[in-house]
């Protein structure tokens, strides 16, 4: 007999009342109506819990830290008891060989049924030697665990896109999960962010456990329910953007009045994430609310787009690095200059040929 989620929760001392509260919370986070609350509850009472194997490659552990800080303490407890985090080197008690043995155990016991959560990514250079886990390159562990998993969750920007360790020139060739050569062909859900918002992480897991299917993904593999809109679309400073009221520098009047941060480099208009709706730390705040522009942490390659404090991206190539406007204005000036020179030469030619005719 498999344990159900509900069994586990009760064993952990969670009351039925709290359990139902959690179900409504989860439904709300997932954007489902109240009619889904009993469905979630029912699923949790009857379905065997799904084991999660949480691996860590090249990373900074900010995803785990975020996950553990789920806003609602209840949500956190429930989630942690819900998924059997059989292996997560940050929070598990076991260590050393004992810990590594757990991975094999989980893979064997739940072959084809567990969810592989990947935090961080695999460096491929030097045969993967830049990240060694239990004496072996992480990339091997990742391939092995992926080939027996049911689905893969790429936590954070590292596993989804590469993030800071893959920033140019990417000396270790850090590679996001879906681009690792030879990785098993399993569904991959990307939950980007540096780190992703904890409520988004727990909600994605809850959804998969409750409905036993993947949440609907966009073309790039992100759950639509949290990544279908940009920060800018729901930003509370948006009226200032539309009005044309901007912070010009961080110590000006506009900054004190909470104007739009576009001119000091806000990447909200180009960043798909839920920060401006879900916010952080239990809905307390988010970077823009604290007066700092969004740096676009959930977007592919956000480290390589030039300054965090300038809106325009730097374009690389031809051995130079400049913004579109610098390149464009220079080209336009060259074309204009060439036209002027050509015009002058044409005038001379015109005069002389006229002279010849006469």
């Amino acid at each position: 007999m498999h344990e159900t989620f509900y069994d586990v929760m009760r064993r952990q001392g969670i009351t039925r009342r709290s359990f139902l509260k959690y179900c409504s919370l989860a439904a709300a986070a997932l954007g489902l109506g109240p009619s889904f609350v009993p469905k979630i509850a029912h699923a949790m009472e009857t379905k065997p819990r799904i084991p999660v194997l949480w691996l860590h490659g090249l990373e900074c552990t900010c995803c785990s830290e975020s996950f553990l800080r789920s806003a609602h303490p209840l949500a956190k407890d429930v989630i942690l008891s819900m998924i059997s985090l059989d292996y997560d080197d940050t929070i598990m008690a076991a260590a050393g060989h004992q810990a590594e043995a757990i991975i094999e155990e989980t893979i064997e016991k739940y072959d084809g049924n567990y969810i592989l959560a990947v935090e961080g990514n695999a460096p491929l250079n030097e045969d993967g030697m830049y990240c060694i886990i239990g004496g072996k390159p992480f990339v091997e562990q990742l391939r092995h665990a992926a080939s027996h998993a049911k689905a893969i969750v790429s936590w954070g920007s590292c596993a989804s896109w590469g993030c800071v360790q893959a920033a140019r020139p990417n000396p270790t060739r850090a590679t996001p999960t879906h681009m690792v050569p030879g990785i098993a062909d399993k569904p991959i859900i990307k939950v980007p962010g540096c780190p992703p918002i904890s409520e988004v992480m727990t909600a994605v897991i809850t959804y998969m456990l409750t409905f036993e299917k993947m949440p609907e993904l966009d073309r790039q593999g992100r759950p639509k329910m949290f990544y279908s809109q940009r920060i800018h679309d729901k930003c509370y400073r948006r009226p200032h953007f539309d009005a044309g009221q901007f912070v010009e520098s961080f110590d000006d009047e506009g900054a004190r009045k909470g104007y739009c941060l576009y001119k000091v480099g806000c990447k909200g208009p180009t960043t798909y994430n839920a920060c401006s709706t879900v916010r952080w730390n239990g809905g307390l705040s988010f970077p823009i609310q604290a007066g700092h522009p969004c740096i676009g942490c959930s977007e592919d390659g956000f480290w390589d787009k030039g300054s965090f404090y300038e809106r325009q991206t730097n374009v690389k190539g031809f051995g130079i690095e400049a913004s579109a406007d610098r390149i464009g204005a220079t080209s336009a000036a060259i074309v204009g200059g060439a036209a002027a020179v050509h015009a002058a030469a044409s005038v001379v030619k015109h005069m002389t040929s006229k002279g010849n005719q006469e």
């Binding site: 539309d242 009221q245 576009y262 991206t313």
Partner: protein
């Protein structure tokens, strides 16, 4: 031999039909609006103080960009239609006869003319090969690029489930990397278009003065007039 003092009644040719001329000027105006508003969307005007509800500066700038954007799109669709429905010159900027030997020869001659080596250009009814080449590469394709990337950016605002998002943003954003790269490329597209417009206006004025035919008045009235009455030696 044709004598230069002889006048021919068939000297003027009607080449740019009214729909094409109207399209040219509406399109030109819309593109100027797009460049100006587009520039200020990326590099906004100095901030204003006061209450947010008293102003809608960025809002209007963006709105004008989108209106002009749709004018350009509808206009361009019409222009494609007109390429088939109009006279044979209407197809010129879309289809370059690269498989024809004379086209390359005349292109070379036009280049010599611009390098001030050839003594005079050939006489054309429609566009000369160099004009066609520039318009095809630096206008037609750049405009298509701007329309596709523009609609993909527009879809970001209208959101999933709208045609702009589903048919454009959905595949164009990943194609460029991410949304920010798309913005950058759309902006680079603008600068290429600006380079085209500078060149276009310069050569229009230059050829009006130096070539053997009328240029600027032709895109206004539709008629091509000639300064000499020797035979037409250009193909188109």
């Amino acid at each position: 031999m044709v004598q230069s003092n002889q006048r021919h009644s068939e000297e003027a040719v009607y080449i740019y039909e009214a729909p094409l001329r109207i399209w040219h000027w509406i399109n030109a105006l819309a593109i100027v609006v797009l460049c100006v508003t587009g520039y200020f969307m990326g590099e906004p005007l100095p901030s204003v103080s006061g209450e947010a509800y008293d102003y809608y500066i960025m809002g209007y700038i963006r709105w004008m960009h989108f209106v002009a954007g749709y004018v350009v799109i509808v206009g361009f669709l019409f222009r494609i239609y007109w390429a088939f429905m109009g006279n044979r010159h209407a197809m010129q900027i879309f289809l370059i006869p690269v498989w024809k030997g004379w086209w390359w020869k005349e292109l070379f001659h036009e280049l010599l003319w611009y390098a001030m080596i050839a003594k005079e250009p050939k006489k054309y009814a429609g566009h000369n090969p160099l004009a066609v080449l520039t318009m095809h590469l630096a206008f037609v394709w750049v405009l298509i690029f701007l329309i596709f990337t523009g609609l993909a950016l527009y879809g970001e605002g209208t959101g999933m489930g709208t045609w702009q998002y589903d048919y454009f943003s959905d595949w164009i954003i990943p194609l460029f990397g991410q949304s920010q790269d798309l913005h950058t490329w759309h902006r680079i597209g603008m600068w290429v278009m600006i380079c085209f417009v500078i060149t276009h206006m310069y050569v229009a004025v230059r050829e009006d003065i130096m070539s053997r035919q009328s240029i600027i008045s032709s895109i206004v009235s539709g008629w091509r007039m000639y300064k000499d009455s020797r035979p037409m030696d250009g193909h188109e």
